[in-house]
Symmetry: C2
Subunit: 347 residues, 2 copies
């Protein structure tokens, strides 16, 4: 899922996303709550109608964002008090109102309000996060069920649960069992890709995903690099979201079949090759590295558009190829071939 924080994948239009083959976009509840506000989105017909993106959407719970504001927030069992990064105004997120907000925004998938502890956290803090995540998940589930009943079938979102527990396997087991007992239609693995090593991430993921039902979508939040996605998919992860392709594109680096390319670098100044000679996207068919580097140096919006388009196209093609490989029973082969080519380029 490309990330469309405030209801737009930065620099791209809905038509661009469709061309790239994007099937679902993530939006951030925290940002949409502050601006333009959930009730405005509801009045404008919900997220799809408001943003012009009519394929599936998912909102996160806002938890990850408010915890990243930890210096100006207060956490209690009731919820999280925080100050807006925009104007310093005070707000409270509770499991209940986060569900209300997401129902107002109206995506297809909504997420339970969880407590994501920072990395590293000691076992006591991680256990407290697991306990709170469980309590909050129960309250989210209850509120969601209530809203679904009240709406009489008009409300459509599926509520996914989130497993926490930092890198402690016993806590991950406990969290998974608690969350699964609430019977969600999909499960996310939260609290990874927050600073731990690649080995810790893989070990924790491998342990956690085994506990989750393979017949429901399993979503690894905030991941990641192509190599992380391939690793996680090999354990059975079905869904991912990450800002990397969009954020890096805007700051001068794109993903290519030969590895990351820092197109802002001087070595691209006179390079007439496309960003990725193996890519058939409309950017690679038309523009050179020299032009993209020039646009970067000029801070031209057009450059951010083109670079972002390429990287989103690249990620979507990776996901399509990955799905085809899984269906053909050739995931390991595909992963090896992809990584061999990907590691060739040093720039």
């Amino acid at each position: 899922m490309p990330v469309g924080t405030a209801g737009a994948v930065k620099a791209l239009t809905a038509a661009d996303l469709e061309e790239c083959g994007v099937e679902i976009v993530l939006a951030n509840t925290y940002h949409l709550y502050l601006r333009p506000g959930p009730e405005l989105v509801r009045r404008q017909g919900g997220l799809a109608s408001f943003t012009g993106w009519h394929k599936p959407t998912l909102t996160d719970s806002g938890g990850y964002q408010v915890f990243s504001l930890k210096e100006i927030s207060r956490i209690s069992d009731d919820g999280v008090e925080f100050q807006s990064h925009l104007d310093g105004s005070r707000h409270l997120f509770t499991p209940e109102n986060v569900i209300d907000i997401q129902h107002a925004i109206g995506p297809d998938i909504i997420m339970a309000f969880d407590q994501c502890v920072p990395y590293p956290s000691d076992e006591k803090a991680a256990a407290e996060g697991v306990r709170r995540t469980h309590e909050w998940a129960k309250r989210c589930r209850a509120r969601h069920d209530e809203l679904m009943q009240v709406s009489g079938g008009a409300a459509v979102p599926s509520l996914f649960g989130i497993v926490q527990g930092s890198t402690y396997k016993e806590l991950r087991t406990q969290s998974a069992r608690q969350i699964m007992a609430l019977d969600f239609p999909g499960y996310a693995i939260g609290g990874l890709s927050v600073g731990e090593s690649k080995k810790e991430m893989e070990d924790t993921l491998a342990h956690t995903i085994e506990l989750l039902p393979p017949d429901r979508p399993r979503y690894l939040m905030g991941v990641g690099y192509p190599e992380d996605i391939l690793m996680a998919a090999s354990y059975g992860v079905d869904m991912f979201d990450c800002v990397l392709p969009t954020r890096n594109a805007r700051t001068g680096s794109v993903f290519t079949s030969g590895g990351p390319l820092v197109y802002r670098n001087a070595e691209c100044a006179d390079d007439s090759r496309p960003l990725d000679p193996n890519c058939d996207c409309k950017v690679c068919r038309r523009y050179s590295r020299a032009y993209l580097r020039h646009l970067y140096n000029q801070s031209e919006i057009t450059g951010m558009v083109l670079a972002t388009y390429h990287s989103i196209y690249f990620y979507q093609k990776l996901m399509r190829d990955l799905r085809a490989a899984i269906e053909a029973g050739r995931l390991d082969e595909f992963r090896r071939a992809f990584m061999t080519r990907y590691n060739q380029q040093s720039s």
Copy 2:
């Protein structure tokens, strides 16, 4: 001509321009000279190849830009010494090297190096500008002819002459005769839309265009608003360029059939109508004012892309409709009908 200052119409791709029906794009010699440099553009195959825009292009002479840096430039008969706005480095533009630079950049139409005097200028300063513009035009013509001959037919640009003279009709007459004596394939009227009143612009234009040959393109530089374009077309102007549709779009205002719409305004916050209900562009078919205003408030690049696309589409449709009206001998009728609708909306 939409303005693609540094080789890109800000926020749009070449495909966007094609979709909007754009037939020719202007680029600024001053900017491309400083970055990425004319020799790099030449090595990358010239402007079309470098920018991916394969339809016609025009470069201005850089004169207008360096004169706007007047505090840090020195003007003599030799040329203009100026400091880069990027790094303060010192440079010299002469009639000869401006032609060399434009040949290296390689557009389809290039412009003579002229002296555009500020508004207001007294008659003596304006006359000095006319004299210098004539001297420089002769040198540009000579240098251009030399390069065309040396290239043996490989160089393609047409060199247009520029008429100056501020708002002094006698000076305009003198300048037009001097420039026409050099027999250019097209003529531009420079030195307007620089601060004079609409009436002064119209009077000066009406006087000047009568002097220019109707069988060659007549180009009014830096104009303008839709009403200015319709006025100037009624006198016979064939070509225009202006940053208004792109610049205003990025700062929260678009052009519509009902007049300018300041979509950043609070009154658009909950408005589900398209920017222009009479427009069939892909932005108006998909997005609301509410969404565009939200994206503006969030400083989302996507919002700048969408607003710019609409305004360029609007201007191109205006030009298509205008051409059709001229061919049908109904220019006055078209102008009246357009302006009646255009003046209806107050926002």
